[in-house]
């Protein structure tokens, strides 16, 4: 009974507070590994102690204090070992461990600590894969096995990736610091990119364990909330959070019982998560009023227009086309231009859209991209050009590799009127 209750509280405390706790510990001891070990020991100790003596008033503070004691233990052990070996080591590293008084001041872990941690995990001197793994492991609190499963990698590969990243942080001395003002914008963009990548890995991937992928989306949203808590006035952070909330609000509507994709047009809008949509809309509104436009905000504004349409037919396509044009100014990638062509096709008629798509196809960048052909096929279908549509679907099918996408294209091909 008590043990069960203790386990529940330990789990909740871990979920809610591990980010703050580990961030504070890393600052104190300067080592990801030691901080992780201390925190794990403290949670294990909590399980035993709380079952027996009851739940403390403030479980988070209990864990923090217990982790600090573990760190002091490690430091003592290390020092004796060092003295025995008569090894000279870096003086400031030593003092960080020795000064027990400084442990108290870390107390509940100021937001600054999580901020330091997120910037260190997403430091540009680490490769993107390492940034993602490290962020999920330390701030996200996911196990190595969970991260490995969500990226369909062997656990050993993921573990190796984490070891290398932590070693580089230590050996090349990547600072545990909030970047200075002049570098902040760029570095924050790197953090945002990592968070969005985590989200998309969960949202777009159609393979693997769906529960784990669901967890990735939730984790990305949690991380964006942390970043937003720390930078409440940053428009792109608000935009990123809004974008993810709005996409994620459709999670129950976008896949059928058999795992097949359902297009936005065909989704049952009554199962969209209204609460999440409301929060997303409010954030978009807030971000746009800060008047510092950015790619996440524009994409969130597009998602907001979809979310606000009572039916697919009621979608404000002219406005969406205008937003894609804005996005193309910031990021003139072929994919953005394709999306703009789709929106124009929906607002000004298929012919206009097809014309734009053909000019994109001519440039060559998208010729081998199945979505160009799928989008063309869709507009051809809408203008009742059956033969041309069938050909475009077949071309898309030949290029698509994702099984879920292929099933969708095949269905569309079969649904064409005979």
């Amino acid at each position: 009974m008590n043990a069960e209750r203790a386990r529940t509280v330990v789990e909740t405390t871990f979920r809610r507070e591990h980010g703050r706790i580990i961030a504070g510990l890393i600052r104190l001891c300067g080592s990801f590994d030691r901080a992780e070990e201390a925190m794990q020991d403290a949670f294990a100790a909590a399980l035993a102690d709380w079952s027996e003596h009851g739940i403390p008033d403030n479980p988070g503070a209990w864990i923090t204090a217990a982790s600090h004691r573990k760190l002091i233990d490690f430091a003592r052990r290390e020092r004796t070992w060092r003295e025995k070996r008569d090894l000279l080591r870096d003086a400031d590293e030593e003092s960080a461990f020795a000064d027990a008084a400084s442990f108290d001041e870390a107390a509940a872990g100021l937001p600054d600590d999580r901020l330091r941690l997120i910037f260190t995990c997403c430091h540009p001197a680490l490769n993107r894969e390492a940034q993602v793994a490290l962020t999920l492991r330390t701030l996200g609190g996911l196990t190595t096995d969970e991260i490995a499963r969500s990226f369909l990698l062997p656990e050993a590969t993921l573990a190796q990736r984490l070891v290398r990243a932590k070693r580089k942080i230590h050996d090349a001395r990547i600072p545990y610091e909030v970047p200075p003002e002049h570098a902040l914008h760029e570095r924050r963009a790197s953090v945002q990119a990592v968070i969005y990548l985590i989200f998309n890995e969960g949202y777009l991937a159609t393979h693997g364990d769906s529960l784990v992928r669901r967890e990735l989306c939730a984790e990305a949203i949690r991380l964006a909330r942390v970043l937003r808590e720390l930078y409440p006035q940053d428009a792109e952070t608000a935009g990123l959070l809004a974008l993810m909330l709005l996409h994620d609000s459709r999670r129950h509507a976008r896949v059928d019982a058999g795992g097949a994709l359902i297009t936005l047009e065909e989704q049952d809008r009554s199962v969209w998560d209204r609460q999440q949509i409301d929060e997303g809309l409010e954030l978009v509104d807030f971000a746009l009023h800060l008047c510092t436009p950015g790619a996440y905000q524009i994409q969130a504004a597009i998602a907001a227009l979809h979310a606000q349409a009572a039916s697919a037919a009621g979608t404000d396509w002219p406005q969406i086309a205008a937003l894609y044009a804005e996005l193309a100014k910031l990021n003139p990638s072929p994919v953005v231009l394709l999306n703009r062509a789709v929106a124009i096709g929906m607002s000004e008629g298929p012919e206009r859209g097809l014309m734009l798509m053909d000019s994109l196809g001519v440039s060559g960048a998208l010729n081998e991209y199945y979505l160009l052909h799928a989008a063309r096929a869709d507009l051809l279908r809408r203008s009742n050009r059956r033969e041309a549509a069938a050909e475009a679907y077949r071309r898309a099918l030949a290029l698509a590799t994702n099984e879920t996408e292929r099933r969708f294209l095949l269905r569309r091909l079969q649904e064409l009127p005979g």
Partner: protein, 121 residues
Amino acid sequence: MRYIFLIYSRETDRASMSAEEDQAVRAAHRAAQDEAARRGVLHGAQPLQRTNTATTVRMQDGKPLIIDGPFAETKEQLAGYYVIDCRDLDDAIEWAQKIPSGCRGAPGCIEIRPLLELPPR
């Protein structure tokens, strides 16, 4: 901690620089070195002669195998180095932006590597 800054650039580009450009690069090097020296963090900086002066010696079966040319043929060649004492990698990245040939419009790049500090013997 000391870091070495390895400057890689295309020798051909260097040869085709105008006198003014060359002057500007030299001045930028002097400025970077002066600043590092003034702050007491400079532990050496030197340009290298061109790779056509390079000789590679590889010990094979106890005997030296002597080869004309640099260790590896690369698009960009090691052109010089700095050793600077830095607070951390971010500090080193700031220095890398002050050293010409790296990331400042001039062709080339700079590889930053922390030196392995050994305990005193």
